[in-house]
């Protein structure tokens, strides 16, 4: 007997919420970054779960794409964080606010 789809979705929802809370509440850019990854993976989990449910490989392929893009995003994101750190000697996102109105 298969695990019902609802379990996956609930888990995914929990992971996504944790990620969202991390993004909104933490100040450390690295932690925020990790939280974003958590959100992405929550979505990946959903994709895979639905893929299995429908017996369609499309969802799994999309998850792979998502991972690859996420990896690329990590490269860019970390580079930005490093350069922000060089400028502000801190990775606190609240301190990088030169663009305030």
């Amino acid at each position: 007997m298969r695990t019902p789809i609802a379990y996956f979705l609930v888990l995914s929802g929990i992971l996504f919420s944790i990620g969202t809370a991390g993004v909104l509440l933490r100040k450390n850019a690295l932690v925020i970054f990790m939280s974003v990854e958590l959100q992405l993976n929550a979505v990946n989990l959903t994709l895979v779960a639905f893929s299995r449910m429908h017996g369609d490989l499309g969802g799994q392929v999309l998850a792979f794409f998502s991972m690859v893009v996420a990896a690329a995003e990590v490269v860019v994101g970390l580079a930005i964080i490093v350069s922000v750190y060089r400028r502000h000697h801190s990775v606190n996102v609240d301190e990088a606010r030169e663009l305030s109105g």
């Binding site: 969202t20 993004v23 909104l24 509440l25 100040k27 925020i32 996102v93 609240d94 990088a96 606010r97 030169e98 663009l99 305030s100 109105g101």
Partner: protein, 632 residues
């Protein structure tokens, strides 16, 4: 177009205006490089036009008297629905006389200008404008429909503007040019309304159709309205009351321009227009009376003004206005042939006097104040003698041209029972002779009254040669109309009906009266200005306020300045400084300031805290999902 075989030279009619236009274009573009050649080229072009005109008119004479009409369709100009305007030329008796005057006198003035404008930095451009003027003037008189005429009409106005302001680096010249252009524009606009009315009533602007069907198409009132609108254009162009103010100021231009445009040709365009459109004026009747009264008032008014001027060119300008008034008087009495005769004679003697005045200025370092002339007869004999021939012609000394021309008009006034007009016209003739006498005696007789006059010198041959030719013309042109019936009148009869003559004083008596008037005026002015027996300053003091009134043109200019120009200037200032600066600019500034204030408020949202943006995105996503989920 006419049933008879058309003589071959007639087909060259289009070349008459085309030649000056071609040379004008050449001079406009490469005139600078041509140097002195520009003037020669321009003169040759007008001379060729004159030769062609002679040929064409001679051929016109060989045609039977009643069918002397040649219409040449060049190309379709405007085609809108059923309304067609072609670029058509018309040669009949009236336009034949006009092209002879325009090209003949124009040629002499061009030759004169070669000498007069020598050394001017814009030599080529001057001749380009002059030729352009001749082109437009020929178009004006040769047009077969009112729109072609109007094209020429506006064209000569433009050239007049360009040439009055030819030395535009002096502000007063530019102002005079603007004044001439704007004042005539008032008349031109009314004339355009008249043209529109004609187009509406007749469905065409062709003279042939208008003259053929006018009697059946127009009511008396409609004819009056149209005639008066056309006459308004003539009043502006021919500087009649109340639009005369531009002509005295137009003397700011070079003297050949004054001679060509503001004496011999352009200003007579108004007379030409009324003669050309006389069938409409005749239907109206009232319009003719208006023409007569305006002409009479102008003739006398301008003569008094001429009496008070010190500037020799302004005397001639007012004199031109006055003489044009005489022409309009003739037209108003349906004496079209007499008006044409006067027009031709006037073109000769007035061009002669203007060129003579230019020659005087040339010899006295551009002096124009007659109080600083005197005794110029000795240093510049040719100028003086030719000038005096012109002056005598205008003053009405027999047997010169002006004598016959003016006398013909006064005779018609008497013979048609208009005794009042005759008396007032004679008074005008007396004043004319008086201001002419004053001008001649002040300029050429007595002792020199300035260094410039004492050291005056005769002008070069290229300048006095045209003077001599014009003087010969002014002396002999009266012959044109010398037979009892009048040669010119007879020749014009098919195109312009001759006035009916009735009982009145015999021609001999009238001639005697005219001679007596002229002699009296000349003797009187000689006694005051020439004999040296009268202290002029004391005489002028005793005559106050008349000299001051005359000198300022009865203060009409000042009145216009107070009543029309000043309020316009104040209105313009209000528009510029209040309406534009405060209201229009204010509105735009308010929009800018409002946007700025809105932005000030809006920038508070832009905190710079990345997480607050993220929160906004998250909340937005949740809201969107809720909406999608809850939606039925």
């Amino acid at each position: 177009m006419t049933p008879q075989a058309v003589p071959s030279s007639m087909h060259l009619l289009w070349l008459i205006p085309a030649l000056p236009l071609a040379v004008a274009i050449v001079n406009l573009f490469v005139g600078k490089r041509l140097g002195k050649l520009a003037g020669v080229l321009a003169s040759v072009a007008v001379a060729c036009s004159f030769a062609l005109s002679v040929m064409v008119v001679r051929d016109l004479l060989t045609m039977p008297a009643e069918s002397r009409l040649y219409i040449r369709h060049l190309f379709d100009w405007i085609r809108v629905g059923g309304f067609n305007v072609g670029a058509d030329l018309r040669l009949d008796q009236v336009s034949a006389v006009m092209i002879m005057v325009v090209t003949g006198v124009g040629m002499l003035i061009h030759i004169y200008a070669i000498g007069y404008m020598d050394g001017d930095p814009r030599y080529g451009r001057f001749f380009a404008y002059m030729n352009l003027f001749v082109f437009f003037m020929l178009i004006l008189v040769l047009g077969e429909n009112l729109l072609v005429l109007y094209l020429g009409w506006e064209g000569v106005g433009l050239c007049s503007y360009l040439l009055i302001g030819f030395w535009f680096d002096k502000t007063e010249n530019a102002v005079a040019a603007k004044k001439a252009f704007i004042t005539t524009r008032i008349g031109d606009t009314l004339m355009l309304v008249g043209l529109a009315l004609i187009a509406q009533k007749f469905g065409t602007l062709d003279f042939t159709v208008i003259f053929g069907t006018a009697a059946g198409t127009l009511t008396k009132d409609a004819a009056t309205v149209i005639s008066l609108l056309l006459f308004a254009g003539a009043v502006g162009k021919s500087a009649q009351l109340p639009l005369h103010v531009w002509l005295p100021d137009a003397m700011a231009g070079p003297t050949p321009v004054s001679a060509l445009i503001h004496a011999a040709t352009m200003v007579t365009a108004g007379v030409y227009l009324v003669i050309r459109m006389h069938p409409l004026f005749e239907i109206s009747g009232v319009a003719l009376t208006v023409v007569l009264i305006v002409g009479l008032l102008t003739a006398i008014y301008a003569a008094t003004c001429a009496l008070g001027q010190d500037d020799i060119k302004r005397v001639l300008a007012y004199s031109t206005i006055s003489q044009l008034g005489f022409m309009f008087m003739a037209v108003g009495m349906r004496a079209y042939a007499a008006a044409m005769f006067m027009l031709v004679a006037h073109a000769f003697y007035k061009a002669l006097m203007f060129l003579g005045a230019g020659s005087v200025m040339h010899g006295t370092h551009d002096q124009t104040d007659m109080n600083r002339f005197g005794g110029l007869l000795k240093p510049m004999p040719i100028t003086a003698i030719t000038f005096m021939i012109g002056a005598a012609a205008q003053a009405g000394v027999p047997p010169l041209a002006g004598f016959f021309a003016k006398d013909a008009i006064l005779e018609i006034a008497d013979h048609s029972g208009r005794i009042g007009i005759y008396v007032l016209g004679s008074a005008g003739a007396f004043l004319s002779a008086a201001y002419i006498g004053r001008m001649v005696f002040l300029t050429f007789f007595g002792a020199p009254r300035s260094q410039d006059a004492a050291h005056a010198h005769e002008s070069p041959a290229v300048m006095w040669f045209p003077l001599a030719v014009l003087a010969a013309g002014a002396a002999t042109i009266g012959w044109l109309n010398l037979t009892p019936e009048g040669r010119l009148s007879e020749w014009l009869r098919p195109a312009a009906a001759v006035a009916v003559s009735g009982p009145g004083l015999s021609t001999g008596v009238l001639l005697a009266i005219a001679v007596a008037i002229t002699a009296a005026a000349l003797l009187l002015t000689w006694w005051i200005f020439g004999s040296g027996r009268v202290d002029r300053a004391a005489f002028l003091d005793r005559a106050e306020p008349l000299p001051r009134l005359f000198k300022n043109g009865w203060y009409i200019d000042q009145a216009y300045r107070t009543v029309l120009v000043r309020p316009s200037e104040v209105g313009a200032a209000i528009t510029a400084q209040v309406v534009d600066a405060k209201i229009v600019d204010g509105a735009f500034n308010a929009i800018g300031a409002g946007t700025k204030r809105l932005a000030q408020a809006g920038r508070r949202i832009q905190t710079g805290y990345v997480r607050s943006y993220a929160l906004a995105i998250a909340l937005g996503a949740v809201a969107l999902l809720l909406y999608v989920g809850v939606r039925p």
